[in-house]
């Protein structure tokens, strides 16, 4: 990322600011239907010009997902609305879009299969697969509880949400005859490089991916997309730089959205409020090519959250539908899991009349606890007590109707991270596999290095992602960067200090800057790291069904706040995304498979008037890492929706089973009608 001062002065270099004199702009002809046979296409570059399949990359890609590979362009069958079919070029965006009119596509529209529950047993959404169930697992341990006082069941749902960074996707690709250079805003330059190489069967050394200033990502910009393969292929074919900038409408239809989960849950409990067991059928709307098929199992793994529930067993399935692939969106399975758990806990509160905090405390882990799914947590009771004391729950509960939530954050620390530090001419440059795009990694890079190396932080620069400058790397997602990035950074700093010692006899900042050093390390990480968080919300709803959020509070264990102001800023931003999911964010299709959200505003992103603020608190219980940090970025998107939904539910006197909660949902529930 450019320096923050450059960014605020408008001197950032975002993808659309990358330009070459002989650059070609491209635009895509996309399927007008959610499901159709393509009878005939004429004009533009077509599937045959891109004889590749999409590789899967990014967070948590599994072998199962790898087995199902999407074409770069559809040729005989369109599996989702907005699927790219043909590509045209132009000397600028206007001309490229003019040339879209020169492409003819004849469709034979088919009935789209949009509902994942229906898709389980329906005919295949794409030809050639036996079943639409792309991932089918049982998670946890089968159990039988026959003496529970209460067995409560409910169907819960999070509809799909667009990631909606304000900068959409984009790419510029250039080829000099031997090397392909790709500029793109991304969470991981290496993930994009590896995806391109795998898809196009190119050796890694022949592709360089350079991260441009990245205007938000939220999970979207973790991997490679068909449009990037098209731009790369055309750059090589035409020997001219090729640019593609996604339009917002394209983003809404053809960029991987998050959420899209249904859970049919069942809890077994005693009158005392003790939860004996939880089971459920968890179904993820994975989209046409089974995107992020790992997410159903991942959700099931963490449903029990901070609670010591002895029995848990889930049927977790990811199901293909005639929609764009689902992908990770800030939280990526964590908010969904917490929604399924917390909604059932609140139901139990209502059934037993037990206070929401008492019930959570009763079921919290008093000692280290390993859930039946294998998730190991530290004792959570103390944290939950402290959190709600700090947020003033007991007092509020006496006179008001707060909604609360408690959750676990499991950062994606697996596979660790890489770092390179170069000392040259008295300046220090740092590259991290987990690149920054607004999270201000530069602040902790500077402060940790300054402390460790005894140098002035102002001589340190955190560089943008660049695969030629850093051999390998993972990426920024899953609340991981500060944890594994800082860990790698400190390891490489130690290496540098050792080199200085070897060269000069002793280490000092002065000795360091007198010489040139260049060290790299890929610091792998096998273990996991789990932290706790809690939220509180107060809301009202009026007769029209409009919700007014009065108060939101957060209390998270961040391990150690490496940059305290950034912690607060991250919580405030994530809280608004969480509130957006509850109030309005949605990507809904009509029965014919047409997308109802045509604009950014239609997709429900909150504006400054609609957005609530949040009072953020955190505590610091250092993690096992030398820097002490735990995860943070996704916490508000986990904890806010559940607390807020409960607050709305209590204010309106209704039961909420689905996000978003629209005014009409509230009114019709109040009037006793089913949706």
């Amino acid at each position: 990322m450019s320096d923050i001062v450059d960014i605020i002065n408008g001197k950032g270099r975002f993808i659309d600011d990358i330009s070459f004199p002989d650059m070609v702009h491209i635009a895509f002809v996309r399927s007008n239907y959610s499901r159709a046979k393509i009878l005939h296409v004429n004009g533009g570059y077509l599937a045959k010009d891109f004889p590749y399949f999409m590789a899967s990359a990014g967070e948590g890609a599994t072998d199962e997902e790898m087995s199902l590979r999407a074409p770069v362009l559809a040729s005989t069958y369109a599996a989702y609305l907005g699927e790219p079919i043909a590509v045209v070029t132009g000397k600028n965006r206007y001309e490229a879009e003019d040339n879209l009119e020169g492409v003819e596509v004849d469709y034979d529209p088919l009935n789209p299969i949009l509902d994942p529950e229906e898709a389980i047993n329906s005919d295949p959404v794409i030809p050639g697969v036996r079943s639409n169930v792309i991932s089918d697992r049982f998670v946890g341990r089968p159990f039988s509880i026959t003496d529970a006082d209460l067995v409560l069941e409910d169907r819960l749902e999070n509809r799909r949400v667009a990631t909606n960074p304000i900068e959409t996707r984009g790419v510029v690709a250039a080829y000099d005859g031997s090397k392909l250079t790709v500029w793109t805003p991304t969470q991981s330059a290496h993930s994009v490089r590896d995806g391109i190489c795998e898809s196009m069967n190119l050796p890694k050394e022949s592709v360089r991916v350079i991260q441009t200033d990245t205007g938000g990502a939220f999970g979207l910009k973790g991997g490679v997309y068909p449009e990037y393969i098209v731009a790369s292929t055309l750059a090589m074919k035409l020997k001219r730089p090729v640019k593609w900038i996604e339009t917002r409408r394209e983003h809404l239809m053809a960029s991987r959205p998050g959420r899209g989960v249904v859970g049919r849950m069942k809890i077994y409990a005693m009158k005392t409020g003790l939860i004996r067991g939880i089971s459920g059928d968890i179904i993820v709307d994975a989209g046409a090519y089974g995107g992020a098929s790992w997410s159903s199992g991942w959700i099931a793994y963490q449903v029990t959250g901070p609670y010591a529930i002895k029995e848990a067993y889930f049927h977790a399935r990811s199901v293909m539908t005639n929609k764009v692939d689902q992908g990770p969106y800030r939280g990526a399975g964590r908010p969904e899991a917490s929604f399924l758990m917390e909604r059932m806990i609140d139901l139990l509160c209502d059934e037993t009349g037990i206070d929401a905090l008492d019930l959570r405390l009763l079921n919290s882990a008093k000692d280290r606890f390993k859930s039946p799914t294998g998730m190991e947590i530290e004792p959570s009771a103390g944290f939950i007590s402290r959190a709600f004391e700090k947020m003033g729950y007991r007092q509020l509960a006496r006179t008001d109707r707060p909604g609360i939530s408690a959750f676990v954050l499991i950062p994606a620390v697996a596979d660790g991270e890489s770092c390179r530090i170069r000392v040259k001419n008295g300046r220090i440059s740092v590259w991290l596999g987990g690149v920054t795009h607004g999270q201000r990694h530069d602040l902790w890079v500077k402060s940790l290095l300054s402390e460790k190396l005894g140098i002035d932080p102002s001589i340190v620069t955190l560089e943008l992602g660049d695969t030629d400058m850093l051999r390998e790397g993972v990426g920024t997602w899953g609340s991981r960067s500060a944890i594994v990035g800082a860990n790698a950074l400190l390891k490489v700093a130690a290496k540098i200090m050792e080199s200085v010692r070897k060269k000069t006899g002793s280490y000092s900042g002065k000795n360091l800057l007198a010489g040139d050093y260049d060290e790299y390390e890929y610091a792998n990480e096998k273990g996991s790291l789990i932290s706790f968080g809690a939220n509180l919300a107060l809301a009202d709803s009026d007769d029209l069904g409009n919700v007014k959020i009065r108060t939101m509070k957060a209390y998270y264990d961040v391990g150690k706040a490496l940059a305290p102001q950034v912690v607060i800023s991250q919580i405030r931003g994530g809280a608004v995304q969480g509130a957006g999911q509850v109030l309005s964010e949605n990507l809904e299709y009509d029965r014919d498979g047409q997308l109802m959200a045509a604009t950014l505003s239609d997709s429900g992103v909150l504006n400054s008037v609609q957005a609530p603020d949040i009072e953020a608190f955190y505590e610091e219980n250092p993690s096992r890492f030398p820097h002490g940090a735990k995860g943070l970025g996704e916490s508000p998107t986990i904890g806010v929706p559940t607390a807020l939904v409960r607050a709305i539910e209590r204010s309106a006197g209704i039961r909420i089973r689905k996000t978003p909660v629209t005014p009409e949902n509230i009114v019709s529930a109040k009037l006793g009608k089913t949706e």
Partner: protein, 169 residues
């Protein structure tokens, strides 16, 4: 199709060009004048990343034809770099974490600037209403609102000329 001649004042300087009539103001600013602080975040007139001042009022330059701006005064963030109020705003945005990724920031700054020129000490609701055409996906707006609240007044109030009397033709 005919091209149109467009002559306007851009950041204090006369700017003359000939463009296709359909050229959007944002493309004149970014592509022809190479002033890239102004961004395009949507094509649906929602996000406000493309906000510029047109005759002193903030508008979405992706929803204005370059030709419509002919003969008028256009200011982008670059043109306000020496403006004392804008400098104060930027300092506060940095201090209060009024930006993360920075993509919406230029538009946010221009809307904030425009508000503070009209009203020195706006309250929270006035601030939030003035920013409601600028979408930020990172900060949750809290840091931006704090930044605007923290700007100390001291700038002369803007005078926007009143609309003319209606005339019969």
């Amino acid at each position: 199709m005919k091209k149109v001649k467009v002559e306007l004042k851009l950041n204090g300087k006369q700017f003359k060009t000939e463009v296709e009539a359909r050229t959007l103001l944002v493309d004149l600013v970014r592509e022809l004048a190479d002033q890239t602080a102004t961004h395009i975040g949507c094509d649906t007139s929602n996000c406000g990343a493309c906000t510029v001042l047109l005759d002193g009022r903030p508008v979405k330059s992706c929803t204005v034809l370059a030709a419509q701006a002919g003969g008028r005064d256009v200011k982008t963030l670059e043109g306000l770099s020496e403006d004392p109020l804008m400098k104060k705003l930027k300092d506060q945005f940095l201090d209060k974490h009024g930006l993360q990724c920075g993509f919406c920031t230029s538009g946010m700054l221009i809307s904030s600037y425009s508000l503070l020129r009209k009203k020195q000490k706006p309250d929270e609701l006035e601030i939030r209403e003035s920013l409601s055409g600028n979408i930020c996906r990172c900060t949750g707006y809290g840091g931006i609102v704090d930044a605007i609240k923290s700007v100390q007044p001291g700038i002369e109030k803007e005078r926007v000329a009143p609309a003319p009397e209606i005339q019969r033709n």
